[in-house]
Amino acid sequence: MMKVEAIIRPERLGATKSALEEKGIHGMTVTEVHGRGEQKGLEFTHRAGKFRVDMLPKVKVEIVVKDHQVDVVVDAICTSARTGEVGDGKIFLIPVEKVIRVRTGEAED
């Protein structure tokens, strides 16, 4: 199994969920995170001036799938989460040794 860990823009989460659903991928875990990368932050207004925030709100989507589904998932995310501007995010593929379902205790490798 593989964990597909995608850091994307919060406003693209809805589209990404839909795109995955179309591919039959339903299970996922979402975390609110802050990140920075190539994107050099965003300007915010203060009472009388601007300031730059370098850590921007992102959303981490974690999807654990069988190895053969990885490409489908990655493609779906890339297409749906993309805006083409810097800051679209990254996907990390992390090997998972085993998955256990808490309700039943059954395991899958």
């Binding site: 406003e11 693209r12 809805g14 965003l42 300007e43 915010f44 207004t45 709100p57 805006t83």
Partner: protein, 408 residues
């Protein structure tokens, strides 16, 4: 009449209480939205306080309350508050409060009415377009209707009753939102079937509680004196709000199996809306009936939205439009004739006279508010960009329009 300290004290504090209703609406609405749009609502309430105050002290007050007796609109006698001073102001000097205070108390009503609208059109208009729309709306709709009802215009002459603004405030705002969302269309996030949970229900309750206390000034202060009429208005306000909150809870318990907190506070607001036109004329029994009707009708009013598939984001029509209408009609049914007016409602032996006047006022204001709002926004759409882009909608108004995040 000379200035009376007791009455002035009450109208002073009532004006302050009505003031707080506008930020309160900001919390009531803002809490119901997602957290990327809450600041935009709060910011709009500040802008409205600023803009409408300036309109009011320059031309608004004189156009609404000047020329008492003229059918359609006031005059410029009091432009820039000329002659409006610290003495009672004829022909409103029955109030025994300083003219400038009478002016400001009425101005607070203009502010809160405009603020009600932003909940309906939320999450889709460009800030600049919204500000222009509300500016024109204040002049073209609020001020004329205020004149008709309170400035001695044709509705006042007709004998229709509206103690604290069922028609002037709630129907104008509610119906205009209906017209506006038809012109503007739905939020794109909504069209995708996205449902957004209220991001902070405690803020909704906070806003609702502040609205409720503000309403005591809104309705009680409309007596313009600290007398029995003010006391009666205060009490029936409490009773109608309380009744409608309970009724809403029961209705949703029956309908959904559980009473939601968001629902019950909305029910309270619905009851407060409905009692507004009636509070100078009905007794506590009347208030219970009005609260009961408000709970049922406004609940149904919100369901209308799904049925007819328009996007009145925070149900300004469902709560204020429907509630204001019910209150205006209920006044024609339940006015006792022993309080602020001798006109009696149908159920208190007054026959159909008052009821018919009430209905005429309601129908004409519906038609007026709807059509003028429709035209304003249609014209605006032709000459400027009124809506934000889909991408901006998704990112949220706080970042896009204000460059701020509510929380960090």
């Amino acid at each position: 009449m000379a200035v009376d300290a007791g009455n002035t004290a009450w109208v002073l504090i009532s004006a302050a209480l009505v003031f707080i209703m506008t930020p309160a609406v900001g919390f009531f609405y803002g809490g119901m939205l997602g957290k990327k749009n809450v600041l935009s609502i709060l910011g709009q309430t500040i802008i409205i306080i600023g803009m409408v105050t300036l309109i009011w002290v320059t031309v608004g007050f004189t156009l609404a309350f000047g020329g008492n007796g003229q059918d359609l609109i006031g005059n410029f006698d009091w432009i820039m508050l000329d002659k409006v001073g610290i003495e009672p102001l004829a022909p409103y000097d029955f109030t025994s409060v300083p003219g400038i205070l009478f002016m400001m108390f009425q101005g607070m009503f203009a502010i809160i009415t405009v603020a009600l609208i932003i909940g309906g059109v939320a999450e889709r208009m460009k800030l600049k377009a919204l500000v222009i729309f509300l500016f024109v709306w204040t002049l073209a709709i609020y001020i004329p209707v205020a004149h008709w009802v309170w400035g001695g215009g044709w509705i006042a002459q007709l004998g229709a009753l509206d103690f604290a603004g069922g028609t002037v405030v709630h129907i104008t705002a509610g119906v205009s939102v209906l017209a506006a969302v038809l012109v503007l269309g739905k939020r794109s996030t909504l069209s995708n079937g996205g449902v957004e949970m209220a991001h902070n229900i405690p803020f909704v309750v906070l806003g609702g509680a502040l609205l409720w206390i503000g309403w005591f000034g809104f309705n009680g202060g409309s007596a313009l004196a600290a007398d029995g009429i003010a006391a009666n208005a205060f009490v029936v306000t409490m009773v109608a709000g309380a009744t409608a909150a309970v009724v809403w809870g029961i209705v949703s318990w029956l309908h959904l199996g559980r009473p939601g907190v968001l629902g019950m506070i909305s029910g309270a607001i619905a009851g407060l809306v409905a009692i507004t036109p009636a509070c100078g004329y009905v007794n506590v029994t009347g208030a219970i009936v009005i609260g009961l009707g408000a709970g049922v009708f406004c609940y149904a009013g919100i369901l209308l939205k799904k049925r007819f598939d328009y996007d009145d984001a925070l149900d300004v029509f469902g709560v204020h439009g429907v509630g204001g209408t019910w209150g205006a009609i209920a006044t024609g049914l339940l006015a006792t004739g022993t309080l602020a007016s001798s006109s009696q409602g149908l159920l208190y032996g007054g026959g159909f006279d008052l009821l018919v006047s009430q209905l005429i006022a309601v129908v004409v204001v519906y038609a007026f508010a709807f059509s003028v709002t429709f035209v304003i926004l249609k014209v605006m759409k032709m000459v400027m960009v009124v809506r934000v882009t889909k991408e901006e909608e998704r990112i949220g108004a706080d970042i896009i329009q204000h460059g701020e995040n509510a929380y960090s």
